[in-house]
Amino acid sequence: MATASIPRVRLPAQAKPGELIEIKTLISHEMESGQRRDSAGKVIPRKIIKQFVAAFNGKTVFEADWHPAISANPYQSFFYKAAESGEFTFTWKDDDGSEYVAKNKLTVG
C-alpha cells in the first residue's frame, strides 16, 4: 500500500532583499526503485517521484530530476536569493502522472 504523498516545506517567511535563504523540502513517498523483488521473486514495478520543480511567482528557479537511487521520503534542499515578495510553488511529479504541490509565501523587505 502506497502512503499518501504529503509534502512539507521549511523556509523563512520573511527575508531582506538580496538575502540567501535555504529551502528544505520533504515528501512522503516509497520511491519504489524497480529493482526489488517480492517474496514470490517477481520484480516490484518502479514508482518514484521523477522530478521536483521550484518556481517563484511562476518562474522556475530550481529543478531536480530524481532517479531510483533517491531514498524513500525524499528530502531536497537548495538556496534562493530573495529579491521581491511573492509565492513559491513546489511541484513533485510522480511516475504515475500525479503531481503533489505545496505553496509558500515569502515577504521581502
Partner: protein
C-alpha cells in the same frame, strides 16, 4: 611530534626515579619507585587556566587492573608513531624506566608481577581526590573539568541504573562538559533526558536529526576560567550509528562534519574565545588528521581509542591529549593566555595509583551508596582464573578467548565471534571471577548471544569488513575498536592489503579443514547491531561456562597470523 620541552615535562616524574634493573630486580625497583600522592599531583603551574580531563571511564567506579595493549598497530601515516607503539618501544619513546610505576601504568609486558607490586589503578574516589587537590591548589575559578565520553557504560551498576550511577558521580565531581559514544546505547530518549537535566553540558556539534538536518545537542559552550574565555566544542563518535545499534537512536545521524566544526571554531573566536578546545570522541588517528585540516583549534582532548600518553602530541598549533581509559589517569593541562591567545601549555598525565592516593570521603560514600543495591550480586563468585585475563590488543585478548570458548560450548557452535571492544577490566592469575568481573566485560544494552548459520563466504566478508574498519590507511574511513575475536577458527591477515584481500587461510581449528566459501557453519556471537537479535544475554552464557569450567587456563592463542605490519 613531541617537543623536547614537553618531553621533559612529561617524563619529569619518571626521570626523577631510578632507572631500574629490569624485571629480575623488581622488588628493589618497586620499592624505590613507589609513587606518593604528592609525586602524582606535583606540578609547576602555568598561566591562569587548568583543564582537567578524564575519558573512557566505562562506568568503572572502583579501582581495577587494566592492561594496556601489547599490539596496537597503526597504518598509513600512523604506522610506528605514538600511540601506535607498545611496550619497550613505548618506554623508549617516552623515556620510562622498565619496571617503573609509569611503565606498569602505560605498557603491558611483565604485567602480572608489576600489578602485584603497584596495585590497582583508578576508582572514582581517588579520581575525586586528585581533582580536589588541583582545584584547591589553583582555585575553582581557574579549573575546567571535562569528560571525553564512554563514561556511562561498562558496568552492571550503570546498566541496571541506565547510567544514573555515573551521572550522580560526575555531577558530584562538578563536571563541566562531556561528549558521547556508548552513552547513545541507552537510547535517544534516555540520553536526551540526562542531557536536559544534568548540571553538566552534553555537547555534540556533529549529531543531526535525519529529517530536517537540525542539531540535536548544544554544539559548544563558552566557559570563563582564570579571566579567559574558553570555548569547548563537543564531538560525538562520528561512527556511532555504524558501530552501535542505529535502531536505538533512529532519528539521529552523526559523521565527522569538518566544515560545521570549522564554523564552530570561527564562531567561538568571534565570540571572544581565547582558548578553543575540541572535546572529541573521534579517536586519536582521526583527531590527528582533523588537526591538520580544521584551523584554529588550540587543544584536542582525544578519546575513544583508549590511548594513554605521558606527553602531548603537537600538530601545527594544536596539542593533542590522550588520557587513557577506565579511570587510570587524570590529565592536567595548564594554559597561559596572553593577548587573548594561548601563549604556552604544560601537561601532566597523572596516574591514579589507588594505593598511593587517599580516597575522597564524600565520593567514597557516594560510590558505596550507588553500588549498595547491587553489592551482593556484584560480589557473587562465578568462577576462578589461573591465567591473566585481559582484553585490549588488536587481535585477541585472553578474556575474549574465554568468552569465545563459552559461546562455542554453551551455544553448541563451530565458530564464535566476539566484538573487539577495548573496554573491560583485567584479572590476575589466582583471582576469583565474580559477577562484577563477568559484567565488566559484557554489560551492554544489546547483549543477546545469537546462534545461527553462516557460510564461509559470509564469515570472510565479516572479517574483511571489520579489518577495514581498523586498518583502512585513511583514519576517516576507520571505525575504531579492535579486530573481531574469533573462536574455533584461525585465519591470516595482511594488514597492508585493501578491503576484500586482507583475510586468507581461514581454517576450522577443530577439524583442521579449510573453511569453504559455500559451506554453512554454526556460528555464535553477541553484540549484533541488528534489532531483535535472539538469544540469551552474553553474561549468562559466560557465567554458565565459568561455573562448569573450573579454574580458567588460557593457552597462547596463535590462530591469527598477522603480516604486513
Amino acid at each position: 611530534m613531541i617537543s623536547r620541552r614537553e618531553f621533559l615535562q612529561a617524563t619529569a616524574a619518571a626521570s626523577a626515579l631510578t632507572v631500574g634493573g629490569g624485571v629480575g630486580q623488581l622488588g628493589r625497583v618497586a620499592a624505590q619507585q613507589r609513587l606518593t600522592q604528592a609525586d602524582i599531583t606535583r606540578f609547576d603551574p602555568l598561566g591562569t587556566v587548568t583543564l582537567l580531563y578524564v575519558t573512557d571511564i566505562h562506568a568503572q567506579l572502583m579501582p581495577l587492573h587494566f592492561r594496556e595493549p601489547s599490539i596496537n598497530l597503526g597504518v598509513g601515516e600512523a604506522r610506528g608513531v605514538p600511540p601506535h607503539i607498545s611496550d619497550a618501544e613505548f618506554r623508549k619513546y617516552f623515556k620510562l624506566a622498565t619496571g617503573s610505576a609509569e611503565a606498569f601504568a602505560l605498557t603491558s609486558d611483565d604485567f602480572v608481577a608489576l600489578a602485584r607490586n603497584y596495585g590497582r589503578m583508578g576508582g572514582m574516589d581517588r579520581v575525586a581526590t586528585l581533582i580536589g587537590a588541583v582545584r584547591a591548589e589553583r582555585g575553582d575559578d581557574k579549573v575546567l573539568l571535562l569528560d571525553g565520553g564512554d563514561n556511562w557504560q561498562g558496568s552492571w551498576t550503570s546498566l541496571q541504573t541506565r547510567a544514573q550511577d555515573m551521572v550522580e558521580v560526575m555531577s558530584a565531581l562538578r563536571l563541566d562538559a562531556m561528549v558521547g559514544h556508548w552513552e547513545f546505547t541507552y537510547g535517544a530518549e534516555r540520553v536526551k533526558e540526562i542531557a536536559d537535566k544534568a548540571p553538566f553540558a552534553f555537547l555534540a556539534q556533529n549529531v543531526r536529526d535525519n529529517e530536517w538536518q537540525e542539531p540535536v545537542f548544544e554544539a559548544r559552550k563558552m566557559f570563563e576560567r582564570g579571566g579567559a574565555k574558553i570555548a569547548v566544542i563537543g564531538q560525538a563518535l562520528p561512527r556511532t550509528a555504524i558501530a552501535n545499534p542505529r535502531w536505538m537512536f533512529p532519528k539521529w545521524e552523526f559523521g565527522i562534519r569538518e566544515e560545521d566544526l570549522q564554523k564552530q571554531v570561527d564562531e567561538s573566536r568571534a565570540a571572544g574565545a581565547a582558548v578553543v578546545v575540541l572535546l572529541s570522541h573521534n579517536g586519536f588517528d582521526v583527531d590527528r588528521k582533523l588537526a591538520r585540516r580544521v584551523k584554529g583549534l588550540d587543544v584536542i582532548l582525544t578519546a575513544h581509542t583508549h590511548d594513554a600518553m605521558p606527553g602531548l602530541i603537537r600538530v601545527g598549533d594544536t596539542v593533542l591529549v590522550a588520557s587513557g581509559s577506565h579511570g587510570k589517569f587524570v590529565s592536567r593541562l595548564d594554559i597561559e593566555v596572553k593577548d587573548k591567545k594561548v601563549a604556552g601549555v604544560r601537561f601532566k598525565l597523572m596516574p591514579v595509583f589507588s594505593d598511593a592516593i587517599a580516597p575522597d570521603p564524600a565520593m567514597k560514600a557516594l560510590v558505596e551508596r550507588v553500588r549498595a543495591p547491587f553489592a551482593k550480586d556484584l560480589a557473587r563468585p562465578i568462577g576462578k582464573t589461573d591465567s591473566l585475563l585481559y582484553r585490549r590488543g588488536n587481535f585477541n585478548g585472553t578474556f575474549d578467548d574465554v568468552i569465545c570458548h563459552a559461546m562455542l560450548a554453551e551455544r553448541d557452535a563451530e565458530i564464535s565471534l566476539s566484538p573487539g571492544f577495548r573496554w573491560g577490566a583485567t584479572l590476575l592469575p589466582g583471582d576469583a571471577i565474580t559477577w562484577e568481573d563477568v559484567t565488566n566485560a559484557t554489560a551492554i544494552t544489546y547483549p543477546n548471544c545469537y546462534r545461527s548459520q553462516m557460510t564461509g563466504a559470509q564469515l570472510k566478508e565479516i572479517l574483511e569488513d571489520v579489518a577495514d574498519n581498523i586498518f583502512h590507511p585513511d583514519p576517516y574511513f576507520q571505525g575504531g575498536g579492535d579486530m573481531v575475536r574469533v573462536g574455533g577458527m584461525g585465519y591470516a591477515l595482511d594488514i597492508s592489503k585493501s578491503v576484500g584481500s586482507r583475510v586468507s587461510g581461514m581454517v576450522h581449528l577443530k577439524s583442521g579443514k579449510p573453511i569453504e566459501a559455500a559451506k554453512s557453519y554454526t556460528v555464535a556471537g553477541w553484540a549484533s547491531v541488528n534489532e531483535n537479535t535472539q538469544g540469551p544475554p552474553i553474561w549468562d552464557v559466560l557465567a554458565a561456562h565459568l561455573a562448569k569450567a573450573g579454574a580458567i587456563r588460557i593457552e597462547p592463542n596463535n590462530s591469527v597470523k598477522v603480516t604486513g605490519a
